[in-house]
Amino acid sequence: MRHWEAFWCIVLKDMRTYYLKPPNLSWGILFPVAWTGMFFIRSQTPVDIRMILPGVMAMSILFGTTSMLAVTVTFERKGRSFERLLLSPVPLRLLMLAKTGGAIFFGIVNACIPVLIASFLIDISGIGWAALAGSVALIAVSSTFLGLFIAVSVSEVFEAQTFSNFFRFPMVFLCGLFSPWPHCRLRSSRSVICFPSHTVRISCTMRSTVRAACRCG
């Protein structure tokens, strides 16, 4: 019980302290917003937005969570405040859960931005919200752990961002967001950004598909 109190304090402190840090602001918030705007403006019809939305959401989460970890872990390791956490009696697993928990939450919040923007442009009533929430959580968890792997491998925040881009950008290209390359998409089907974005896509079209099936039936 005492440790859970420490857990919440770490999560809340990270949220308060790091959510609006410059690297996080640029890569984690502004970047996904810019991408979302770019794709939505480019789209000609509401159907296009619905098709693009899962990919943009997945990307927002990926960039948000990996940037967040780069800040919370790398910043603290550099300033040696991470040592303070390691020297506290909080179990190591709970400590890492607290550090990643904030990033997962941040990723989920990031995923809401494209949905919010899309809600002004298209009818989003066909989305299966439960399935979408599950898929978003799945992407947030998997990309947070990718971010953690990167954050513990480097010592500077800029190194973490650069190293993250070695993973993030190839994933964006491989998943076929820009061009529908069937071979690449097939090979990247197991990547952090692709497989969950498929599930997001399914959940985004779930109700309309079910409705269409009912009508046909």
Binding site: M1, C9, T17, L85, P91
Partner: protein, 321 residues
């Protein structure tokens, strides 16, 4: 015993960091851990606090063996690193409350304890300011306050007064003495020998990863070859007089430092009455006689210098810096 360490050993690859480190620290004691740069002080502290895992050896706190899981002992200790490592974005009060939360302190107690410590350390006025805006001395004080927020039985302090002004350093030393009087065991590493001399009851010297001397100040001082040194200020004093002194008193070596100032070196305590008689017979007036004690710095230089020379002769090179 608050801390008992035996056979502690740590290698980084083929580089020896510490080897067979052994010492014990009594409850309520201030124990100094001194050594030149790269001697293994930080590695030892890291192993004692759980930041590094020893290759072998035992670590016991208050009689219980925690070697396999130091995490279980972390609630017993407060750690103040050589660099202040609190959160620059949080205020002084928020930092203390956060540190208290890490040790599972309930909300109300966190608030009370933080306020009390801010007051004790003279930081109440700066409590709502961000840590990043604090001066170096204030940062140091708040870091110490954060180290004792959960009332630990043992406090590890790494260079507590390094790089801060004299007034702040004095205040910190006085706060540490106060903490110790209330029963906190303090494990102190410092480069300031004078500080160790003032604060510590016992001191260990570590050189090249090995403990070379442990003892009270008196024990360490008496370990110097020089033994007792008595300095006399006299109305006259020559090399001839020094030679006569050496001849008359067995086990005493006299040396004229300058005319009228003579130093007597002896292994045992010197009886002053026959000495004054010696000068009286020669019509020489003695205006002052004082015991010249070797400083801890003399002992430190002698011990560490000797040991380094021994190690180099022994071919123990390639140790970790």
């Amino acid at each position: 015993m608050a801390i008992e360490v035996s056979g502690l050993r740590k290698y980084f690859g083929r580089l020896r960091a510490v080897e067979n480190v052994e010492f014990s620290v009594g409850e309520g004691e201030i124990f100094g851990f001194l050594g030149p740069n790269g001697a293994g002080k930080t590695t030892t502290i890291n192993m004692l606090t759980g930041l590094a895992r020893p290759d072998s050896g035992r670590i016991r706190y208050f009689g219980r063996d925690y070697t396999a899981d130091i995490k279980q002992a972390q609630h017993l200790m407060g750690i103040v690193p050589d660099e202040s490592n609190l959160y620059p974005e949080l205020t002084g009060r928020e930092n203390l409350k956060f540190c208290a939360a890490l040790y599972g302190m309930p909300g109300r107690e966190r608030e009370q304890r933080s306020s009390r410590l801010l007051e004790t350390f003279g930081l109440t006025e700066a409590a709502e300011r961000k840590f990043a805006t604090y001066s170096r001395g204030m940062k140091r004080k708040l870091t110490i306050a954060a180290g004792i927020i959960h009332r630990p039985g043992i406090l590890f302090l790494d260079e507590p007064t390094s790089g801060i002004d004299v007034a702040s350093a004095r205040q910190i030393r006085s706060l540490l003495s106060g903490l110790n009087r209330r029963g906190t065991t303090i494990f102190l590493t410092t480069h300031y020998i004078e500080e160790a001399e003032r604060l510590c009851a016992r001191i260990a010297f570590i050189v090249a990863g090995r403990i070379v001397r442990v003892g009270t100040l008196d024990e360490l001082m008496s370990s110097l070859e020089a033994g007792h040194v008595v300095e006399l200020l006299t109305s006259a004093g020559t090399d001839q007089l020094a030679a006569e002194l050496s001849g008359e008193f067995a086990g005493v070596r006299a040396e004229t430092v300058e005319p009228g100032r003579t130093r007597l070196y002896c292994r045992k305590r010197l009886d002053l009455a026959p000495l004054f008689g010696f000068f009286e017979r020669r019509g020489i007036e003695v205006s002052e006689a004082r015991l010249v004690r070797p400083s801890l710095e003399d002992v430190f230089v002698r011990v560490t210098g000797l040991e380094i020379a021994k190690m180099d002769n022994g071919g123990h090179r390639g140790r970790r810096g």
